[in-house]
């Protein structure tokens, strides 16, 4: 009886299962761990924005990242490449896994035998959201990877506060946007 209830609740809260989320998360953490073990650097993804701007801007705020800008570009290229490997394998059906539930969001399109995925979220949401993210992560000293993964993994009080803040505000914003009928 209670087992049935539990399973029912799980199905409601996690309609797409949890295994691919959990395994993906472990890999995200592993990527950070590999870099940390070799270099001592707890890499976040958002500093790339400012460090890359230092190539084209002499503003002091960007120039402070000169020393790290090259490896941050390499890290970001690695992220893009890693996701592309996923696209070439699991997303394209070359490799299949019982852990992967078939997500039905967005649009899957076949381009020369490779399955690419395209979002349905409207461009203005991406662009405006991007601007706020660019401002917010830099003022707030981190993003979902810097605060959420590296900072929380470091048991940093600033990161706990940062994550709690952006998580609650993001939930409120997403609910509001949904409530006024913006979709997708």
């Amino acid at each position: 009886m209670s087992a049935t209830l539990t399973i029912g609740l799980l199905a409601e809260l996690f309609p797409n299962g949890i295994s691919h989320y959990a395994l993906g998360g472990l890999l995200v953490g592993l990527g950070v761990a590999v870099i940390y073990l070799g270099t001592g650097i707890a890499a976040g993804a958002s500093t790339f924005l400012e460090s890359t701007l230092s190539y084209g801007s002499s503003l002091s705020q960007f120039q402070q990242y000169r020393a790290s800008r090259d490896w941050r570009v390499v890290f970001t290229l690695g992220i893009v490449a890693g996701a592309a490997v996923y696209a070439l394998t699991f997303q394209s059906g070359l490799v299949s896994s019982g852990l992967q539930s078939g997500a039905t969001t967005g649009e899957l399109r076949d381009v020369g035998g490779i399955t690419i995925w395209l979002t349905d979220v409207q461009p203005w949401r991406l662009f405006l959201g991007g601007i706020l993210i660019g401002i917010g992560t830099r003022v707030g000293k981190g993003c979902t990877s810097g605060h959420g993964v590296c900072g929380v993994g470091s048991a940093s009080s600033a990161s706990f506060v940062g994550v709690a803040t952006f998580l609650l505000i993001a939930i409120g914003t997403a609910q509001l946007v949904q409530a006024v009928g913006v979709s997708p």
Binding site: I18, G24, G25, L26, L27, V28, G29, L30, G31, V32, A33, Y36, L37, G40, G44, S57, Q61, Y65, S68, D70, V74, T76, G78, I79, V80, A81, G82, A83, A84, V85, A87, L118, T119, D120, V121, R125, L126, F127, G130, I131, L132, I133, G134, I135, G136, R138, V139, G140, K141, T144, H147, G148, C150, G151, G153, S154, G162, V163, A170, T173
Partner: protein, 155 residues
């Protein structure tokens, strides 16, 4: 954090390898899909909790565990330390602005780069926006020198 780090021949290959695993994980977890993030924020699918907590558990065990075996990193000589930032109003203010952007778009920096990797060219709108935003705050902080413009925000 000096450029000397990059002199080790394995430094950049290792950073790339780490990014590769990180990006593959974001693709595999579907976090590179803004819709999945928005479904999480509207409580339709809470699976994303497992991505963030799963990742934080691995980094936490690594950050705290490695010190039992050695004190500095083999490629850089950097002493292993935690990622600690100063807790001030900027953390809350910036976190709030980031939260509005995240809730509006369903994207965040790492996931956006990964989204490009899964073929989502529309994410370029978001990435372009992020650079515009990063430039706006950089311009503002560089020109309003003396106040909090010197706050270090590395990582």
């Amino acid at each position: 954090m000096s450029a000397d780090h990059e002199q080790h021949p394995l430094f950049l290959p290792l950073v790339f390898a780490g990014g590769l695993i990180f990006g593959f994980g974001l693709g595999f977890s579907h976090m590179a899909q803004p819709e999945v993030v928005l479904n999480f924020l509207t409580f339709e699918d809470l699976g994303l909790l497992f991505v963030m907590f799963g990742a934080a558990v691995v980094t936490g065990l690594t950050f705290f565990g490695v010190k039992l075996f050695r004190s500095d990193a083999p490629l850089t000589g950097t002493v292993y330390g935690r990622r600690l930032k100063t807790l001030d109003t900027n953390v809350v203010l910036g976190g709030g602005i980031f939260g509005v952007g995240w809730g509006l778009s369903g994207i965040c920096p790492g996931a956006a780069y990964a989204s490009l990797g899964v073929g989502n060219i529309f994410i370029l709108y978001g990435i372009a926006g992020m650079f515009v935003g990063a430039y706006i705050q950089g311009y503002w902080r560089s020109t309003s020198a003396g106040t909090d413009a010197s706050t270090p925000t590395a990582e």
